[in-house]
Symmetry: none
Subunit: 211 residues, 4 copies
Amino acid sequence: MGNDNSRETVEKLLASAKKEFSEKGYMKASLRNICKEAGVTTGALYFFFKDKDDLFKGVVGGPLLELRNNLAKHMSAELEELDSYTPGMKVNLEDDMAAATEAVKILFKHKEEFEILITKAQGSSFENVIDDIADMMNKHYIDMFWNMKGYKSKKQMTKEDKFIVHWMAHDQVDIFVHLLTHCKTEKEALKQLKGMFSYIIGGWFGVINNT
Amino acid sequence: MGNDNSRETVEKLLASAKKEFSEKGYMKASLRNICKEAGVTTGALYFFFKDKDDLFKGVVGGPLLELRNNLAKHMSAELEELDSYTPGMKVNLEDDMAAATEAVKILFKHKEEFEILITKAQGSSFENVIDDIADMMNKHYIDMFWNMKGYKSKKQMTKEDKFIVHWMAHDQVDIFVHLLTHCKTEKEALKQLKGMFSYIIGGWFGVINNT
Amino acid sequence: MGNDNSRETVEKLLASAKKEFSEKGYMKASLRNICKEAGVTTGALYFFFKDKDDLFKGVVGGPLLELRNNLAKHMSAELEELDSYTPGMKVNLEDDMAAATEAVKILFKHKEEFEILITKAQGSSFENVIDDIADMMNKHYIDMFWNMKGYKSKKQMTKEDKFIVHWMAHDQVDIFVHLLTHCKTEKEALKQLKGMFSYIIGGWFGVINNT
Amino acid sequence: MGNDNSRETVEKLLASAKKEFSEKGYMKASLRNICKEAGVTTGALYFFFKDKDDLFKGVVGGPLLELRNNLAKHMSAELEELDSYTPGMKVNLEDDMAAATEAVKILFKHKEEFEILITKAQGSSFENVIDDIADMMNKHYIDMFWNMKGYKSKKQMTKEDKFIVHWMAHDQVDIFVHLLTHCKTEKEALKQLKGMFSYIIGGWFGVINNT
DNA sequence: GATGAATGAGTGTTCATTCAT
DNA sequence: AATGAATGAACACTCATTCAT
C-alpha cells in the first residue's frame, strides 16, 4: 500500500494536473492531456482520484486547508482579545500585521496552487472559495467594527454599516489576492504589505469618522 | 438586408444568448440551446455572428463601450483640470463623485450585461475586462497621487508607490463591481456610494501620511 | 426539411441500428458501430435521435404502436359485447380467433422489430413491454372470467381466482411470443394458432370446472 | 488452501455478488462494486473465480444443479413407469403433482438465486437457461402426449403435434417461473399450484380432443 | 436571410481484467 | 491467499462550426 511506485504515479499526476489547470483552467483542462503528460493511462488516474473535481482538490486542497486553519487560528485569537477591549483603546496592529505576514507566507509557499484557486477554479467545487473566505471574514469584521464604533449591540448596526463592513471584508481578502497575483516573491509581497495596511487602516478611519 | 425580419431574429438571438450566458457563463453556454430558445437555427446565428465570442460581444459590447466612453470623458476632463493644480490644493471630490454617480447609472442601466461581463466572461475574449479597466484607471490614479504628495515629477515615484497606486486603481474598480453585484437597484447603489468614497479617501490619506 | 438525403440517412441509421440491436441487444449495442455501419458520424445520429433509447424507440416504436392500437381496438369491442352476455351463453370464439389472427399478422409484418422488443430490450425503456401488455390483458381477462363464472361483483373474486386469471393473461401473451419466436413465417404461425387456442380454451375450462 | 479464511472470503464475495446481480442484473453488475461491498480487492476475486461469468456461476450454479438433478430424477422415473402404460389408461397426476411440489420447494429454497437466473442472467452464459430446461422437458411431454393420444409410435406425430407439445413443455416451465416470481413464500406457491395444474390439464384435453 | 444536415474531434468516465509483489 | 496498481479499450454523448441549398 502506498509504495514508492504508486506515490510516484500520484506525484506525476498531480504535477501534470497542476500544469494543465494552471494553463487552461479547470473547465478547459483535459484529463487525457494530464494523463498523457504524466505518462499514465486514464484508468490509473481514476484509481487514485474519484473524478476531475477530486483531482483538482488533490492539487489545491492541501494548501487551502493550511490557509483556512491559519485564518481560523488568528480569528479565534482576536476574538479572545476583544473581551478586554474598551472603546477608544488603540487597536493592536502589530498582531494584525503578524497574522497577515503569516498568511502571505502561506500563499507564497504554494503560489501556483493559490493562483489556480483564485483565477482558474471556475466550474469546480472550489469556484466560490474566495467569496466563502470573504464571508468568513465578514463575520469577524462585524465584531471589530462593532467594538470600534462603541455599539452596544450588533442589532444597532444600520444597513449602511453592514454594507460597508461587508465590503471591507471583501477588500481585505482582495488585498491578499492582489499581493499574490502582482508580486513575484514572498519577499516582495511582504514589503508591499505595510503600504496595503496603511490603506486599509486609513479606509477604516475614513468610514468611522464619516458615519 | 437589415430589414425588420432580420432585426427581429438578431434581437431574439441576443435575448436568448443573454439568458444563457447569464445562467451558465460563457464556457458552459451552448449555442444549440441559445438557438433553440430563440426559435432559430444555428445557421442563422452564424449569419449574424462570426462565432461564439462574437455573439458574446453582441450581448455585452454595447454597454461596455458606453461605460468606456464615459470613463474616457471624465479622465480627459480631469487631466485638463490638473494643469491648473498647485501642490497642496484640495482635491476636487465633488467632480469625482459626479463621475462615479454617472458610472453607477450606466452600470445599472445594463445591470444584466455588466454582471455577465464581470462574473460570467471566463473563456471569452472579455475575461480580463476588469483588469483592463483597472489598468486604464491606474494612469489616472498616478496623477492624483502625484498631486497629493506634491511630487514634481512622476518619475520620482518609488516602486512601492507605484504598487500601492496600482492597487488603489484596482480597488476603485472593485467598488463598482461590489456595488453592482450587491445592490439591487441604482438607487440603493448610489446611497452606498458615499460610504464607499469615505473608505477610499481614508485609504488615500492612510497611504499619503505613511509614505 | 426532411428531404431525400436526410431521410436516407435516417433510414440507414435505423437499418444499422436494427441489425446491431438484434445481434447484441440494447445494452451491448454500440452507437459507434451503428454509425460506422451506416456510414455516418455520431454527431449525425444525435441530430436525428435524442439518445440511445430514442434510437431504439425509432426502431421498435412504430410496430409496437400498431400492435397496441390493434389490441385496444379489440379489447374495447369485446367489452361492448359483454354487455349482452348471459351466463351459460357460448363464448364467441370466432371473434377471438379473428383478433388473434390480426395480431399475428402484425407481429410477422415486423418480425425483426418484435423479436428485438421481446428478447433484446433489456436496459432500454421498453424492457417491461411484455409485462405491461400482459397486465393490460389481465384487466380484460378479469372481466371475461367474471362473466363466465356468473359473479355479481369483481369483489367476490378470491385471491386464488385473481392469481389464476393473472397467469392466464400472461400465458395468452406468451402464446404470441412463442409463435413469433418459433415460427419462421406468418403462414406457419397462423397454422399453429388454432392448436394454441384449443390449449387455452381447454385451460379455461379446466380452471372453471375445478374452482 | 481451503482454510477458514479463504472460505470466508469466498462467502463474502458470493453474498456481495448475489446482491449486486440481483439489483442490477448480470450486465450492469460491477465487479468493482462487488469487491468493495465484500471488503476485498479485485485480485482476490480473480483468485477464486476465472471471470465475471464464473462468479455468476458461483452464485447460481449450485441451486441450478440441484434443480436439474431433481428434474432428471423424476423424468427417468416416469420413463420407467411408461413401459407399463397401456393406451387409454389414466395419467398418473399424483406423481406429477408430487414432482411439481418438489420442484417448487427447491425453487423457494433458493428463491433469490432462481430469480436472478430467470430475470437477471442476460449477458451471461446462463441467459438461455429457461429455454434449455424447457427443451429438456419437451422430451418428457412428447411421451405424455403420445400416451394420451394412443399413438403407437412417436414418429406418427405431425409437425403441428410437435409444435403444440413443445409449447406445452415451455408453458409448464413458465408456470414454475410464474409461481416463483409472483408468490412470496413456498406455502403460497404450493397453494396456487393446484389451480395451475387444472389449467394445464385442461389445456391438454383441449389439445387432445381437438387434434 | 436562413435552413437542416452533417462533421469530427472532443468530453469525463467505467469496465473487466492482469500481474508483480 | 491476497494486495494495490495499472491497463487500454470502450462507452454515450456534446460541442462549435460549416455549407449546400
